[in-house]
Structures are given as C-alpha cells and as structure tokens.
C-alpha cells in the first residue's frame, strides 16, 4: 500500500522547515507551532547559567590525579609535597574517603581508588587549591608507587577462565535495578568478569533454526564512541554552615543524581540541594555523578566550596563513553525470504565499573535485536563484561545503535544473498498492524511499510545510477519511554500568567520549550504567557530525568494531570464569580471562561480570586509510569555514497530520512532532533572511534577523535508521515533517538551496493574499503 504523495509532508532543509500538522482539536496557538526556544535568547547572549558559570566566595578549583596503569596495586601514595604547596587547601586519597562504593545498577565505583586501580584514568588522588594551575602543579608533586597487575581489555578475553578477575569482591546491587521486563536476568553469573547476562526467548528459535530452509550467520563489531557534548562534565559543591549540601552539576537527572549522592555520602536526601543549571549537551552522557562525590569530599576537607571541570583530555580518556560491542546474529529464512527465527548474542564491553552502565532491563540493546520485523522465534543473549578499560555509560538509545548496525547490515546481507532487493526484503518482513514485535509486544498504528515506501520514492531508490555510486537503507522502530515518575506544579498567578515548575533541566534538546507549548495548549493561550521554572531538588517534585525518549510523554502526562486539576479549580472559581454551576463553564479559544450569557478573562478572574485569598493557585500533576507505550515511532533512512575505487574513500552524497510521526509539538525542535541525530550518526559511521592502546585511550583530543564537521554533511531530505497514532494527550510520538540509531547501516549498505565491499565493523575507513576491494580482486 502506497500513500499518495500529497499526504506526505516534506521538510526540505535547503528551504527551512516547512511542516505543520495541527490537528483540528488543537488551538493553533501552541502545540504544532514553530515556537522559538524559551531559553534561546539567554543562551545565545551568554546569560544562561551553566555549572561552570556559578561563582561563589572562596571558591576553590579541584583536580584529580589519574592512574597511568590499567591494572595495578597502589603500593603507596605520598602527598606531603603537594600539601605543602602554597595555595593548596586539601589533598585527598582513597584513604581519606569512606569505603562505600556507588552506582546506579550496582555499587562498584569507589570515590577515589582504594588500593587498586582498574583502568587508565581512574582517580587516585584529588587536590583543591586556590587556582586550577596550583591544583595541577600539586598533582605533579604527588608520588604514587604502583605494582602492576595483569590486565584484560577485550570482553571476549575477559570471559576466559584464565582471565584476571577485575572485581574479586562481592558487589552490592541497587534494589530493583536487577528486575527484568523480559526474559531471565542474572547478575554476576558464573562467567569470569560478567556483570549481567540477560536471556530472552520468544517462540522456539532452536527448532526453527534446526529445520530452516536457509540460515545466515554474521558477526559485527561496533567501537566505543564519545557523546560529543560541548560542555564538559562540571560540578560545584558548597557545604553550608547548617550542613546543607548545595550542588551545581551538569546532570540530566538531578533528582536521581541527588538520591545516588545521598546514599554514597550518607547524608539525607533533603539535606542535599541540586540547583538548576543549563546543560551544554548531554546525549545520555550526563547521567552519572562523575566528579561530584570527589568534589564534595574536597569541599568538606577544605571547608570551602570547590568546582571541578573535566578538561577535554579527561573527557575523551576517562568520561563515560558508549560501550563497544560485538554481535553475532544467526537467522533462519523460508523460501520466500521471510524471517523465521533469530538467534542473537551481544557482548558489551562495560569497562572497569558497572555502576553507570545502562541497566540491562531497559529496552535498549536487546529489544532491537530482531529489528522491526515479524520474527516468530527469537533467542537473545546479552552480556555485559568488565574489562580494564574506561567505564562506559549511556549514550543516545543505549545499546540500540550497536545492535541496529548489526541487524540492519545482516538483513541487507541476507537480501543480497537471496537476490532480493533490500527494500523488498524489509517490506516483506516489516511488522504491520496486528503483528507482535519479535519480543511479543503489541504495537498499534504501525506504518512501517508505508514509511519505507515514502522514503524509497523520495530517494529515487529505483532510479538508475552511475558506476561507483551506491544506495543503502536501514530502519528502526522505537516507542516513546513511559517509565519513571514525573511530577510538575502549575501555578496561575494573580496576573493570570501560568508558571510550570519542573525538576528536569533542558539538556539542549529544547524540552523546556516543548513543555511550555504543552502547558499553553491546555489553556489555549500563547506560549508567551507561560513561564518555565526549573526547580532545585528541594523545591520541585520528583523527576526521573531525560532518558529513553520519555520527557514529552511523561512530563506531558504530568502537565495534563496538573492542567486538569487547575481547570477544575478555575472552573469552580469562574462558576462562583459568574453564579453558575462549574459544569456550565467552558474555556474559550482565547483562554477565557464562559458561562451561558457571561464571560470572564483569566486575568480578571485571578484578580477577583486574589482579593478572596484564592490566588495564586497551584496544582500538582504526575504521570502514571507504565511500560513502553504501545504507540511507536518508525524511521527509514536512505543513503547514497560515492566510492573511489583507487583510494577506498567513501563520500556521503545524500540522505533521505522518512519518519512515521504523531503530532509534532514543535517543527523546529523536531527537525533539530532529526538533523542533529543524523549528523551524530554520520560521525559514528564515518570517523568516530575511541581507540585504545594497552588499555589507554589514545584518541585523546579532538584532533584524533574525529567528529564530523559541516563540510562532511550530505544533502538531507526529511519526509514526515503525519497522523500516526501517538500517546496522550496530544498524540505525540518520540523523535530524540529515532534519527541517530540506524543510519550507519544505511551507509555501509550503500558502500556494498556501490563496490560490493561489506563492512562489518564501524567506523568505515577508506583503508578498510580498499582492503575489501583488493580481497575482491584477488578472489576473482
């Protein structure tokens, strides 16, 4: 079934965004409008307050001494000379901080190394001094004697019986974190260095594979990459005379971070205040505490506030990058190229600590192992493994980009092996209305085929092409997140203006603007009448923070609940004022209240209410966290490349990205997520890679860790298929993780189409392509 072109909305980048999808029920004032960022002017004029901008009297600078060894025993540390340096206010080693370890899934991370170091870059000692320069000079005066121990860097080697055990002692779990939605999860199963193993079965993959017409098996590898945010990890801790711990930190989930910090330092949650700050990019990487605990202990020891900013070297060598992964897929197909069974095994290299690795119960990583295809039988095994490398963390759809690269390459390889067009292969197997996902989940409003067709048509999939030009595609499906608690407060002032207080920062996605639009829509007012107040963790209700494409859904539901309550309260006030029953009150398109034959605007009503002590009026709202929504988003990417046969160089010429969407709350931020995600994916396909040598990261600056630049970006066309079903109240679907996950496979599939070279490891490099061409020539 193919949609007529006139039902498609196109956003053509060369001419700016041109898509508006205002459903008839919307006011036309807020949701669906290209509203400017509510924090935009503050950010471009430099007025926005980032953690690094906070200044306090007597503020000190903190720096850490880091381990040069991937695995070693600390024989001795001598800090005498560092302490004696003028301007140094406190020096700490592992001996000066409590023994408690911290983490989100399991508590295995020490504040400072205690007796052993487990990766190059691990914090061994810390200094707070009057200036960064003095602190750095002091670090050079610290003598550490190490006794090197055997180390292991690859996950596969770490699982061997002879491998050194990186955490021989028992590790404490965080209650609840090890519960599983699907399948069987075991923490620390009896395999060396394995943190967790998840096994998910649906149907009977073993029998289906045993009796299949054809079986294909391929293995893939995806490297670790950095989130690439502009603002480095930054924190500032001040301990008040009354003992209140004030924290300013670039963190995407202040309430959760506060909880982890409270547990780690043994201070009550309500004696810690995380203050609101702007965040200079997150992409998932700003969820851990990073230096916050060291900063706290330095501040405590010095009796003065301390700020710590990771420099770019520390970011690239000791941040919390995405996991590298190796993936093996074995798939059975029938004579019609229909997928019958997938057996998948994924090994994620977690690095030296598991405290902030993505919780394996989250959907990311295993839910995508059979793609958005009808696969009746699945057997999935996911392992997360300790190695003596940088501990990994979250990054934009944790697990999904690695796994989707494998799945979408694998499907393409099967199509080519069967002599089938890759688009047809995907059309034939894509889930459609009524189908279950490979894990047996229900989805509604599925339009995978329609989206593939719309993209293929705009791309010109079937058009003739010159030699050396290749075309490839890939797909990805994922619902918005509907997990975790969101609590908001709406206040309507005596001037009738509305303030939303929420606990989530805007990590740079434009979420505060979205929130303002959602509020405005409920009251049919323009966004200018809504104020966003990001509360600190004492003054705002609990908020689980930005992750898993959840904020628009969960905070959207919380806003809806608060707005409903407020409308009832306002209707009661209006009824009192207009002498009628609350049920007779209607809200007008201009945000006013009307009863039969009477009308009152909000400002007048609130002024009247204020005189009676009934304004300002505040209502709380919260969401009902559930599992993932049964509504989903689907994307099909198409890429065209040119390959130079003499050098192996791949040039990305053109991308078409087709999205099945619900209501687009803000076409500018929506398109921003699409373009930003695609550019991030171009980097991960073509150039980005954290490279290790003997366990140490050697891509230690941006001259060697290559992010794409404006000159590397291809022509882009966005196709939106509006009208897809979304989640309440405004039928929205997710976009934040839809653009970055699947694109790399579309590009490598295009390389194969161009020159017949199959790349099963990212990133693409000209040299690898040339090697492939050579191998081809010598085989011929």
């Amino acid at each position: 079934m193919v949609k007529a072109p006139d039902t498609l909305e196109r956003a053509d980048n060369s001419q700016g965004v041109r898509c508006r999808m205002v459903a008839a029920s919307l006011s036309g004032k807020a949701v669906g409008q290209p509203v400017m960022r509510v924090d935009g002017i503050a950010k471009v004029t430099g007025r926005a307050l980032y953690a690094g901008d906070v200044d306090l009297p007597d503020l000190l600078s903190g720096r850490c001494l880091r381990s040069p060894h991937p695995s070693a025993r600390i024989v001795s540390i001598n800090v005498g000379k560092a302490k004696a340096l003028p301007g140094v206010r406190s020096v700490l080693t592992g001996a000066d901080v409590p023994d408690t370890c911290y983490g989100r899934m399991c508590k295995d991370i020490p504040v400072l190394a205690k007796g052993v170091v487990r990766f190059v870059g691990e914090k061994v000692a810390a200094v707070a001094a009057d200036t960064v320069e003095i602190a750095e000079a002091a670090l050079e005066l610290i003598d550490v004697e190490y006794a090197e121990l055997p180390a292991v860097f690859s996950a596969e080697e770490a699982m061997r019986p002879t491998a050194p055990i990186i955490h021989p002692e028992a590790v404490e779990f965080v209650p609840g974190a090890a519960a599983s939605i699907h399948g069987e999860l075991s923490m620390y199963p009896p395999i060396p260095n394995v943190i967790s193993r998840l096994r998910v079965r649906h149907g009977d993959a073993a029998s289906a594979l045993a009796s299949a017409h054809k079986i294909f098996e391929h293995s893939f590898a995806v490297p670790s990459v950095h989130q690439g945010y502009i603002e480095p990890h930054t924190c500032l801790v001040a301990i008040g005379r009354d003992g209140l711990v004030d924290v300013w930190v670039a963190n995407k989930g202040p309430h959760i971070a506060r909880t982890h910090m409270a547990a780690a330092i043994g201070v009550q949650e309500n004696r810690i205040r995380f203050n609101p700050v702007a965040i200079g990019g997150d992409f998932g990487g700003k969820g851990s505490l990073m230096d916050t605990l060291v900063c706290y202990y330095l501040a405590r020891a010095a009796g003065r506030p301390v700020r710590m900013v990771m420099n770019s070297f520390e970011e690239l060598t000791a941040g919390n990058p995405r996991h590298s992964a190796s993936i093996t897929l074995r798939t059975a197909v029938d004579p019609d190229a229909r997928l019958l069974a997938i057996d998948a095994r994924v090994i994620f290299n977690a690095g030296a600590y598991g405290g902030f690795v993505p919780v394996p119960t989250l959907h990311g990583g295993y839910g995508e192992l059979a793609g958005a295809y009808r696969v009746p039988n699945c057997a999935i095994e996911v392992l997360r493994v300790y190695t003596n490398t940088v501990p990994c963390g979250h990054m934009r759809a944790p697990g999904a980009p690695q796994v989707t690269f494998a799945v979408e390459s694998h499907i393409d390889m099967i199509a080519h092996a069967l002599g089938l067009d890759p688009v047809e292969m995907r059309r034939r197997n894509a889930i459609a209305e009524g189908d279950l996902t490979p894990l047996g989940e229900k989805r509604r409003h599925l339009r995978c085929r329609e989206t593939i067709d719309a993209g293929a048509r705009a791309f010109g999939w079937d058009k003739p092409k010159s030699p050396g030009i290749g075309r490839g595609m890939s797909t990805y499906e994922h619902p918005p997140g509907n997990f975790g608690l969101s609590t908001v407060a709406l206040t309507i002032g005596i001037d009738g203006r509305i303030t939303l207080t929420l606990g989530s920062p805007d990590t740079g996605t434009g979420f505060h603007t979205i929130a303002a639009q959602l509020v405005a829509e409920h009251f049919a007012v323009s966004v200018d009448e809504v104020e966003i107040a990001q509360g600190d963790t004492l003054s705002s209700g609990f908020e689980a923070g930005a992750s898993g494409q959840r904020l628009t859904t969960t905070i959207g539901q919380a806003i809806a609940a608060a707005a409903d309550r407020m409308k009832q309260d306002l209707a009661a006030l209006a009824a009192e004022r207009l002498n009628c029953a609350p049920s007779d009150i209607g809200i007008g398109a201009d945000g006013s209240f009307s009863a039969p034959g009477a009308m009152i605007d909000r400002r007048t009503l609130m002024g009247w209410a204020a005189e009676r002590g009934k304004a300002p009026l505040t209502c709380q709202g919260e969401n009902t966290p559930g599992r993932h929504s049964d509504r989903t988003s689907f994307v099909a990417h198409f890429a065209e490349v040119a390959v130079d046969r003499e050098t192996g160089q791949v040039r990305l010429r053109r991308i078409v990205t087709a999205h099945d969407v619900g209501t687009v709350v803000n076409p500018i931020t929506h398109q921003g997520q699409i373009e930003g995600g695609l550019i991030q994916a171009v980097g991960q396909a073509m150039s980005e890679q954290i490279v290790l040598k003997d366990g140490a990261v050697i891509t230690a600056h941006l001259g060697d860790y290559k992010l794409p630049t404006a000159m590397d970006i291809a022509e882009l066309e966005t196709i939106l298929l509006p009208g897809g079903g979304g989640t309440a109240p405004f039928s929205t679907t997710a976009i934040g993780e839809m653009s970055n996950v699947a694109l790399p496979a579309a590009i490598t599939n295009a390389v194969f189409d161009a020159v017949g070279v199959r790349l099963v490891e990212l990133p693409i490099s000209a040299e690898k392509v040339l090697e492939g061409l050579r191998a081809q020539a010598s085989a011929a």
């Binding site: 192996g648 160089q649 891509t699 630049t709 000159m711 590397d712 490099s765 000209a766 040299e767 040339l770």
Partner: protein, 289 residues
C-alpha cells in the same frame, strides 16, 4: 597550562635581544595555534613567551622578484590575497586546505614553517615553488631553501635565537601549472593522510622542462620527491608517462602509521595522489601555454 611571562617586543631587534637573553627558557609565538597546543599538553614549558604580533616589519605581502611574504602573514590572508593567487596560486590553494577558517585566521606562514610539523599543508606547496625562508639572528641574516629547512620531526635548522622574518617565492617559470591535493578520507577538518604539491613546466615542444613534487604527512619532514622529478624531466606530459613516474615517490617517503592510515596505505595513497596531482598540473600547464 603552566604559568609563563608574556613579552611583546615592538621591533625585530628587541625581539632578537629578548630571545638571546632568555635562550632555552623562551618561545616565540605568532598565531599560537601550534605552540599553545604543545604547551597545553605540557610538551613545551617556556617561562617566557615572546609575542611577535606587534612587529610591523614581519607583516605584509609584496611583489619584488616574485613574492615576499612577511612571517606573520596569516594563512587566511594568503588564501584570499590577489597577489598570491596571481603569482603563487599553489600556495593560495594549499592555504585553503588548512583546517578551518578559525585556525586559518590565526595561524601564520612563518609559524607553519618554524613549527616543523611534517603534516602541514603549506610546506610542500612552498617546496614545489622553490620557496625560501629568510631568518635573522643578532649576528645576521640567512636565506634557506624550504626543502633544506626541515631536519626531523618538529625539527628545523633554526637556531635557538633565530627568527623567521620572510618567505620568498621566486617568479614561477613560464608555461607552468601547479596542483595541490590533500587526501582527507575521514573528515574534512583534519591533517592530511597525505598531501601532494606539484609544479610542471612545459617546454615549447610540449615536453616537461622541469617538474617539482613535494609531499606532506609522508615522512618525518615535508619531502621533495626528486626521483619523480628527474624521471619526468624532458619527457612527454601524457597520463601514461606521469603515471609511470608516480610510483618512484615511495623511495622519497617514510610515512608513519597513525589514525589516518597504516604506513603501507599512506605509501599507496602517495602514489595515487602524486599521479593525480601531476596530471592536474600538466593539464593546467598546457592551458597556460
């Protein structure tokens, strides 16, 4: 970064005096794009940093028996200069390939030479144009051909107390064409995997009178491929002849393996790009005739 004292002499003599006075403890700074990175990585730790910016005599581009380029001329100014485009298009082209506009507007040509980094784009261009470096100490002045200026990885013939004052580009031979190729297979903002600058001058009969081939990112220093040049002298300028000479470049280079490719790959890419650059230069030379 380690603290240092910044000095800003107003004249060349003053700068030479300061350099002589502080010796090993001092470093000159021009655009700072190279030095500051080395200081941040603590590979260089000068107590005194001597800024050249205020020295008027080091600025400017003029035409006199070819081009005279002040050491402080920025890469950006060279990329867009009418004089450079007319008399040394190869240099303008190479400058256009240097990093980004932000780096180009800070980095200087004198700094690019004195830095001694074999991965830069401008040294091979200057070598292919028979460029020379004028350097001064308190004892006097000397002129050094660019292809004899570099001694090793980040090493040059400059003395500790010597300042690069000017770059000279002689009048380019009649009937010559040039080409600059920077091979960037990963991102467009990067140092070259290999870069090639060529100049071909054709005689009246259409044969090659003289060829120049220089490479960046191909060895510990920017190199000149004299074997290729010699093999082409007096030969026809057809693609076959040019292509047959290109493989001789491997004897002139000794690339190191890094994130931009293995040594073997870089050798192969040097051959491919020398051929392509020769073909392009020959075509331009034919047009110029």
């Amino acid at each position: 970064m380690v603290p240092f004292t910044y000095l800003e002499p107003a004249s060349l003599d003053e700068a030479l005096a300061l350099l002589a006075e502080h010796g090993e403890d001092a470093k000159l700074i021009a655009g700072g794009t190279g030095l500051v990175n080395l200081m941040k990585q603590r590979l260089v730790r000068p107590d005194f940093v001597i800024g050249l910016r205020a020295i008027r005599a080091l600025a400017g581009i003029s035409e006199k028996d070819g081009l005279r380029i002040g050491a402080l001329a920025t890469i950006q100014s060279l990329e867009v200069s009418e004089l450079v485009r007319r008399h040394a298009p190869l240099l303008a082209e190479a400058c256009g390939h240097v990093a980004t506009v932000r780096v180009r507007s800070m980095a200087t040509l004198g700094g690019a030479m004195a830095h001694g980094d074999p991965n830069l784009d401008t040294p091979p261009a200057l070598i292919a144009m028979d460029g020379q470096i004028v350097a001064r100490t308190r004892r006097g002045e000397r002129t050094i051909p660019v292809d004899r200026f570099f001694t090793g990885y980040f090493g040059t013939v400059l003395e500790r107390d010597e300042i690069v004052t000017e770059l000279l580009i002689p009048k380019q031979p009649a009937g010559s064409g040039t080409a600059f190729l920077k091979f960037l297979p990963a991102t467009q903002d990067d140092y070259a995997t290999v870069s090639v600058a060529t100049r071909i001058a054709l005689g009246a009969d259409g044969t090659i009178r003289e060829a120049r081939v220089a490479l960046g990112a191909a060895a510990m220093v920017p190199v000149r491929a004299r074997m290729v040049e010699a093999a082409l002298s007096g030969k026809a300028s057809d693609e076959k002849t040019l292509g047959d000479a290109a493989p001789l470049v491997v004897d002139a280079i000794d690339p190191i393996a890094d994130f931009r490719g293995s040594a073997e790959y870089k050798r192969e890419m040097a051959v491919v790009h020398v051929r392509r650059a020769l073909v392009e230069a020959a075509a331009k030379a034919k047009e110029a005739r």
